[in-house]
């Protein structure tokens, strides 16, 4: 069950939400989705039916992770369970010798302190290293940002400003800007971390705007060359149009990230810029393919940094 390009069998933990889309991409990319984990027999049965409606799913459903791992021995475990379960599920899978891809946020449990959560994240990365398996976090806007860079590299020269703007519908959530930040900020932080991997947040420059559903953080990102990037991470949930906005703006040049289903029903990304549109495969699909082929697009160190920034902003927003 060691990491390598021969890794093919996958177990998906949690398929009620984003996990079902992960499952489909694993299938499309040639992996065998061997098992899923759900909370109850009823939820597992529902999930199996849902997956069968999406692709020829032939795996088994479990409600016990230990049983799943013992019976199926998957090469890869994809953790898509609720955020407070990420740590326990990832640790169990890593101990069983599986490579682990974990949905964002890496670890998060509102009952724990940031120090405790960082400790958990560090433990998981150390465990993956000792077990000689892959570990990665699924923040696919890292891949999307690299695509933007490939489309217009000239727009990224002498980078001075970045705005990551991510809006999604409220879906009945109560207004909670801290939760909005936890849900969405890892993507927008990941995008600038992908473009400026050497950048350090100038924490005294941080300005926050947390109200209703909106969570916004502005800060300077210091680079080793001595220049700084003015960053504006703006996340929001709303039910008025436009309810879905995924926009990365570098040096005042916007990249609108949208998508469409192709003739085969597969989601494709369409990036719109002032100079035209660019179609490519879905960023999540590409991240999953990379992981299958032995590369974590957001490996442990990058995931730790992403979590550290996310939590530190949250602590400051909460008056910590």
């Amino acid at each position: 069950m060691n990491a390598g390009s021969e890794s093919r069998s996958v177990a998906i933990l949690g398929t009620a939400g984003i996990g079902k889309h992960h499952a489909k991409w694993w299938h499309v990319e040639g992996a065998q989705v061997r098992a899923i984990l759900g909370r109850t027999p009823e939820s597992v049965a529902r999930a199996v039916e849902t997956l069968k409606g999406m692709f020829p799913f032939q795996g088994r459903g479990y409600t016990s992770l230990d049983e799943l791992l013992a019976a199926e021995r998957p090469d890869i475990v994809d953790v898509c369970t609720p955020t407070e379960m990420h740590y326990v599920h990832a640790r169990t899978a890593l101990r069983a010798g599986c490579s682990v891809l974990c949905e964002k946020p890496f670890v998060y449990d509102a009952e724990l302190t940031s120090r405790e959560m960082m400790g958990q994240a560090k433990e998981l990365i150390g465990l993956a290293r000792r077990q000689r398996v892959r570990f990665g976090v699924c923040t696919q806007y890292v891949v999307a940002a690299r695509t933007c860079l490939a489309i217009c590299p000239e727009r990224f020269r002498h980078l001075e400003s970045y705005r990551g703007y991510l809006v999604s519908p409220t879906r009945g959530r109560a207004p909670d800007p801290c939760q909005t930040w936890v849900d969405l900020a890892p993507h927008m932080l990941g995008a600038i971390q992908a473009i400026c991997p050497d950048g350090q947040v100038d924490w005294p420059s941080l300005e926050l705007g947390f109200a209703d559903h909106c969570a916004r953080a502005r800060f300077r990102l210091l680079r080793p060359e001595g220049n700084a990037v003015a960053c504006d991470i703006h996340t929001d949930h709303r039910d008025t149009e436009p309810r879905n906005v995924r926009q990365l703006t570098f040096n005042g040049y916007p990249f609108d990230i949208g998508g469409y289903a192709d003739a085969a029903g597969l989601f494709q990304v369409r990036i719109t810029t002032p100079d035209g549109t660019h179609d490519s495969e879905d960023a999540m699909r590409r991240l999953i393919r990379s992981f299958r082929d032995g590369k974590a697009e957001v490996p442990g160190r990058m995931a730790m940094r992403n979590l550290e920034w996310m939590l530190r902003v949250l602590d400051i927003a909460q008056g910590g």
């Binding site: 001075e160 400003s161 970045y162 705005r163 703007y165 809006v167 003015a230 504006d232 703006h234 436009p242 906005v245 926009q247 703006t249 040096n251 005042g252 040049y253 916007p254 609108d256 002032p274 100079d275």
Partner: protein, 105 residues
């Protein structure tokens, strides 16, 4: 051509949430605006009022039909742009159409 660049960038401003309309809302956000776009079919009186009201630059170009085409706002002749790098890019593209304080509108 600057106006072409302005027209290319403008559609992104609404999705970015940085385009603001409505006199009251514009007045509230006055200090946070990079510039105000007023269309060429706005009255001279409107332009004079905007000059008095806003400390930020005024850019006068295109028509209200262009506002509808580019931003989707119907019958709108005045749009403000909130401080952001995209608003700065828009201003640079439209700066040739800035109304000078000492010029007659």
């Amino acid at each position: 051509m600057p106006i072409a660049e302005f027209s290319k960038l403008a559609p992104f401003a609404r999705r970015a949430g940085i385009a603001v309309t409505g006199r009251e809302r514009l007045a509230r956000l006055g200090k946070r605006l990079v510039f105000v776009w007023v269309t060429t079919d706005a009255s001279e009186r409107t332009v004079r009022e905007l000059q008095r009201q806003f400390a930020c630059p005024l850019v006068c170009c295109l028509t209200s039909a262009d506002v509808e085409r580019l931003l989707g706002y119907q019958g709108t002749k005045v749009v403000g742009f909130v401080r952001s790098s995209l608003a700065q890019s828009l201003y640079r593209a439209g700066a040739d159409f800035r109304i000078r304080e000492d010029s007659e509108p």
